[in-house]
């Protein structure tokens, strides 16, 4: 294969989304209170090699959408593709690893037996399973637990095992539903680092999580669902940057200069460091005023909302306009 051909193959791979969900719909038929539409219209495109966050309040349709993608729930409509192959076709999920929310395992098995079972289901050879089992259990912090019965595992340990089994066979695409659920802060950090490592190794991750800080820290793109529809989607910077405002970070102990005080919209105090929100056209004047007042300007950056604030604002807005689609970056 020539260099051009290799680059061509890479470009082709990048052009095909790792996960494509188009107009997904799930209707649970007639329930006691009428038809229950769990997912009304959801489209998600996960670029190859990205970490894509899937967010939404409880009942937004996140888990149902994932289940439809994974063949656990029959869709009422829509198109689902994994690496360019229709998800319901045989072989489509061969290159995919899945961590369900609160993973459960047959408790009569040991950790090693469970890994062997899922390795065989993934079509791996005995030798590969043996090699990957010890490596993955070690990687998720379960080294030396191969022979422990799963009935003796804590919730956090089961979560770690869930991650290990999802990584069997080195899948190109990972679907992780609440991967940090049940883990202590150290475990959560480990999982976050693991996801970044996997991304750097070329894996694509679709991450459904309630932990907005986690999603904000590692996701390239997000899709926010509300009431079974896409409420917003796009690159995380595009969604969170506040147009026309700059964050000015400065250190100082004295009074703020009057001019600066008049032009500053908002202040966040963190000890001697303060972060001011300033309209873009006033930045130079504020910086000069702070400088004249003996303050030291540490940094200037486009103002960015936290994902938590963005999420709350979006959902509050949706309460007023049910079903309305917002956002729309990438």
């Amino acid at each position: 294969m020539t260099v051009q051909e290799t680059e061509g193959a890479r470009a082709e791979k990048l052009a095909v989304p790792a996960i494509l969900v188009e107009h997904a719909r799930k209707d649970y038929g007639r329930a006691a209170g009428g038809r229950r539409e769990a997912v009304a219209d959801v489209s998600i495109v996960v670029s190859s090699g990205a970490i894509h966050g899937l967010l939404g309040p409880n009942g937004a349709g996140k888990t149902t959408t994932l289940k439809m993608l994974l063949g656990l729930v029959r869709p009422s409509g829509g198109r689902f593709e994994i690496l360019g192959v229709e998800a319901h076709r045989s072989g489509a999920r061969r290159r995919l690893g899945f961590l369900p929310e609160q993973p459960y395992f047959p408790t009569q098995l040991t950790a090693g037996e469970a890994m062997r079972l899922y390795g065989r289901l993934a079509g791996l050879s005995r030798a590969t399973i043996a090699e990957q089992t010890s490596e993955l259990l070690d990687r998720v912090g379960l080294d030396g637990r191969q022979k422990t019965l799963l009935s003796k595992f804590s919730r956090g340990m089961l979560q770690r095992l869930g991650l290990a089994q999802a990584l069997l066979g080195s899948p190109e695409v990972l679907v992780l539903d609440e991967p940090a659920s049940g883990l202590d802060p150290v475990g959560q950090r480990d999982v976050r680092n693991l996801m970044v490592e996997l991304k750097n190794a070329g894996a694509t991750i679709l991450l459904s999580s309630h932990q907005l800080s986690e999603v904000e820290a590692i996701s390239d793109e997000v899709t926010i669902l509300n009431r079974g529809r896409v409420a917003a989607r796009g690159h995380i910077d595009t969604l969170l940057n506040v147009a026309g405002e700059t964050s000015v970070t400065a250190r100082g102990t004295g009074e703020l200069p009057v001019l600066a005080r008049d032009l500053i919209k908002d202040v966040a105090v963190n000890g001697a460091t303060q972060v001011f929100s300033v309209a873009d056209e006033n930045v130079r004047a504020v910086v000069d005023a702070l400088d004249d007042g003996g303050w030291r300007v540490v940094s200037l950056a486009p103002k960015r909302a936290s994902l938590e604030d963005y999420f709350s604002t979006l959902l509050e807005g949706a309460e007023d306009e049910p079903g309305a689609q917002r956002g729309g970056g990438a």
Binding site: P100, Y104, P106, Q108, Y118, L121, G123, Q165
Partner: protein, 244 residues
């Protein structure tokens, strides 16, 4: 095929650790040991009656173990969500259903083989006769109970354990009494679509005759395949339509 075997192995591992299987097997073995001491066997036909009792015990134990396995496995896997890790892995739903059933058939086969060995040993000790034909009896029971398990498993793809067990028992009952139930005249066979398990009636040739022979064994195997395929196909369709 490898995926079905992996599921089959996991069912076997699960069954080995389940108390109900061992309790039934031990209880039935104790009954087999005690069987020769039971009174009123008849006049001078002790060994044939013993064989009849042994086959009845095998059938009862196998049905208990079979229904306990077939009616609980899938509902429990769905309820505990352990099935997610299987189905999400490019495993077709029919592979899951058939693999599960195969595991149960293997467990049942081992239980029946062990049980037949116990009854043969007791028979040899009590009557001085090695009753190899009891293996033939065990084979017939194995095929029949496997068919009943396939129906119970199919029902369990949608319903709970009790409904599935009742369905399995009803099938066993109707399957053996369809002629009497519908007052069919002597010698008249029910239409092909009426469920009948009469082909698996092997008590007389095994207990009182000289065995049922190869041709009859083949007929039983054909009936076993046909019935099992029908119920497993039904179960797979039910499970395929089900949201997990």
């Amino acid at each position: 095929m490898l995926k079905m075997l992996a599921i089959c192995n996991s069912v076997i591992a699960d069954a080995v650790r389940r108390k109900v299987v061992w309790v039934v097997v031990v209880f039935a073995a104790l009954l087999a040991v005690a069987a020769p001491a039971l009174p009123s066997y008849g006049v001078g036909v002790m060994a044939p009656v013993y064989r009849e009792v042994a086959i009845a015990l095998m059938w009862t134990a196998a049905l208990t173990v079979g229904l306990a396995l077939a009616t609980t496995r899938i509902p429990a896997e769905v309820e505990r969500r352990t099935v997610f890790n299987v189905i999400s892995r490019d495993v077709r739903r029919w592979q899951y259903v058939v693999g599960t059933w195969l595991g149960m058939v293997v467990v049942l086969g081992v239980v029946l083989a062990a049980f037949a060995a116990v009854t043969i040993g007791v028979g040899a000790f009590e009557f001085g006769e090695v009753m190899w034909r009891l293996f033939e009896g065990a084979f017939g029971v194995w095929l029949e109970v496997s068919v009943i398990m396939s129906l119970a498993l199919a029902l369990s793809c949608q319903f709970g354990a009790i409904t599935s067990a009742v369905g399995g028992l009803a099938f066993a009952f109707i399957g053996h009494s369809v002629v009497g139930l519908f007052n069919l005249p002597e010698g008249v066979r029910p239409p092909w679509y009426w469920p009948t398990l009469d082909v698996f009636n092997i008590v007389n040739p095994v207990a009182h005759g000289s065995g049922y022979g190869l041709t009859y064994a083949i007929a039983m195997v054909v009936a076993f395949i046909a019935w099992s395929a029908l119920w497993l196909l039904t179960g797979s369709l039910i499970f395929w339509r089900r949201d997990l």
